[in-house]
Symmetry: C2
Subunit: 325 residues, 2 copies
């Protein structure tokens, strides 16, 4: 975010949308800030730094876009709630990874310790559900609870697979569905007032761009550059998280499959990143992510959505794979 109120990748879409979209995104941003500001210290500070670190606000953007210009207060609440859940999982993930930096800023776990970071995540999570507690919100509560369950299951699966260089593509994609795609799917339907015939298409769209998003994240972890991604290269390797660029690289350079990930230090992890890059695997995975985005877009075209919505969703989809952070 660094300064501007509306996150950068969102700009391309807000230029296409009417004034309603930036107005609502700003409203979501203000609610997030208000909600965090209301908390007692030390949470107010811990959560505020997570919030300030910003991020792309992709999920709220999807909620608002898929809810459309006619949606009201419920969509704004849903957009805020989904970002709170996302923030909660980031704070918890950083606890597990003992990550020093996220988006170039110190993480809550780094500044305040594991204890406070764990409680901060729990608190952000419960605030999300508190926000949704309004009459008629049961679909939204269910959708967010199910996505949150998937997030935790994805995290569990990833930990289960840690340091296992034999992880298959299928298993990796299964993890990505739980860890990332579920919340994107949720974002595409949670702000809509009632289920409609477009819902299946929107869910499929959310799933594909969620997968593409994770694929690109994993590419960026290998390629960096750190000054753009805001974190060191190879952090996944150091955590023992085997991702698609490494799986594809092993197919071409089987010796990579015999590396002892547990023995890597930061310099070693960067060297492995270079070896992975040398196989061309990251570019191959980037191409796979783009294919998923293309699939996502073509799938939407078959749904009966207004042409304007199609253009905006396609722009969001493109933004998922054309980014560095």
């Amino acid at each position: 975010m660094s300064g501007s109120e509306i996150p950068e990748p969102v700009t391309a879409v807000t230029e296409l949308a009417g004034a309603w979209l930036p107005v609502r995104l700003t409203e979501v941003e203000q609610r997030l800030r208000r909600l965090v500001g209301e908390q007692r210290p030390p949470l107010a500070g811990d959560a505020a730094s997570t919030l300030e670190a910003g991020g792309k606000r992709m999920r709220p953007l999807l909620v608002l876009l898929c809810a459309g210009p006619g949606a009201g207060e419920d969509a704004i609440r849903a957009a805020t709630a989904i970002e709170l859940v996302h923030m909660a999982t980031l704070v918890h993930d950083d606890v597990l990874d003992a990550a020093p930096l996220r988006r170039g800023r110190p993480t809550v776990v780094a500044t305040a310790g594991r204890e406070r970071a764990l409680a901060t995540g729990d608190l952000l999570f419960s605030r999300a559900f508190a926000l949704l507690a309004e009459p008629g919100s049961e679909r939204a509560v269910r959708a967010l609870a199910q996505a949150s369950t998937a997030l935790a299951q994805g995290e569990l699966a990833q930990r289960q697979d840690a340091f296992d260089l034999g992880v298959t593509t299928e298993r990796y994609l299964y993890r990505c569905e739980l860890k990332t795609a579920a919340l994107f799917e949720c974002a595409c339907v949670i702000g809509r007032e009632r289920p409609g015939p477009e819902e299946a298409a929107l869910l499929a769209f959310g799933r594909q761009i969620g997968l593409a998003f994770q694929l690109l994240d994993d590419v960026l972890d290998v390629l960096g550059p750190p000054e753009r991604t805001g974190k060191a290269r190879g952090t996944d390797l150091l955590d023992g998280t085997v991702t698609l660029p490494l799986i594809r690289a092993i197919e071409q350079d089987p010796e990579l499959g015999r590396i002892d990930l547990r023995a890597l230090d930061e310099a070693g992890a960067e060297q492995v990143c270079d070896r992975i890059a040398a196989t061309g695997a990251p570019e191959q995975v980037r191409a796979e992510a783009r294919e998923r985005v293309a699939l996502a877009k073509s799938g939407l075209e078959q749904a009966s959505l207004p042409a304007e919505d199609l253009v905006m969703l396609a722009t969001v989809a493109d933004g998922v794979v054309e980014r560095y952070s």
Copy 2:
């Protein structure tokens, strides 16, 4: 639990209630088991062991009692959800404390590691909200989300105070309200179909017995005996958690206020427990817990509740302070 389907301290109340109460408690128990059984491994195993370790099911009992014999499916769901949130916080607390045992059994963090325990807690938490996602459930969702927020805030406050022997009684009680009493308050109203004149009295009842519950927990941490509490004496001291027995003991033995809690090992913690016990502080705190239970009961008598309900709630209140685990 160890063997019997209905937890022990509940028995005194179920003997007073009609058949409806044991039937519903069993239903809650079955739903908890089903819910955990449905999960994929490794969660199914991790959560099942937390569930099997049992506990008193005090919160579901309160939900069902306060909802009354006329309540239906919503109350059973609320009772199940509140126990899931309670389980989630236990699993997360054990991560922070790196606790080896809870109720005499190995904790999730001890058997499966911090990563899996953190994700298990997140998952139990999200399952609680998923359960509540039904039409007309917004009050229940709000109540549980607010209680969950308080739990996290209480945890944050406790970590903030860690190793500080200057913690005041007021600050300690404030932490107990967040960490324990809020969920008891929630339990007393979450299963009731609509707000009524008794609600304020039930909330006050829940608050007092919640505080009494925490006071007694803190007494048991000092006095044990471990074979009944299922954990070593002095674990609070080792975590740096300064509780009322220690605060009261320092008033009488000021040298206790100069101990370096960070330097304690397990044997040292037991010795400090003996010194705290020698001041009579634990018995004093136990008496304070009993006073709160008396307050809780007399407060209820002024509310217009059926005489039968009063007797059952009074029995639960007594059970809060007459226990060893």
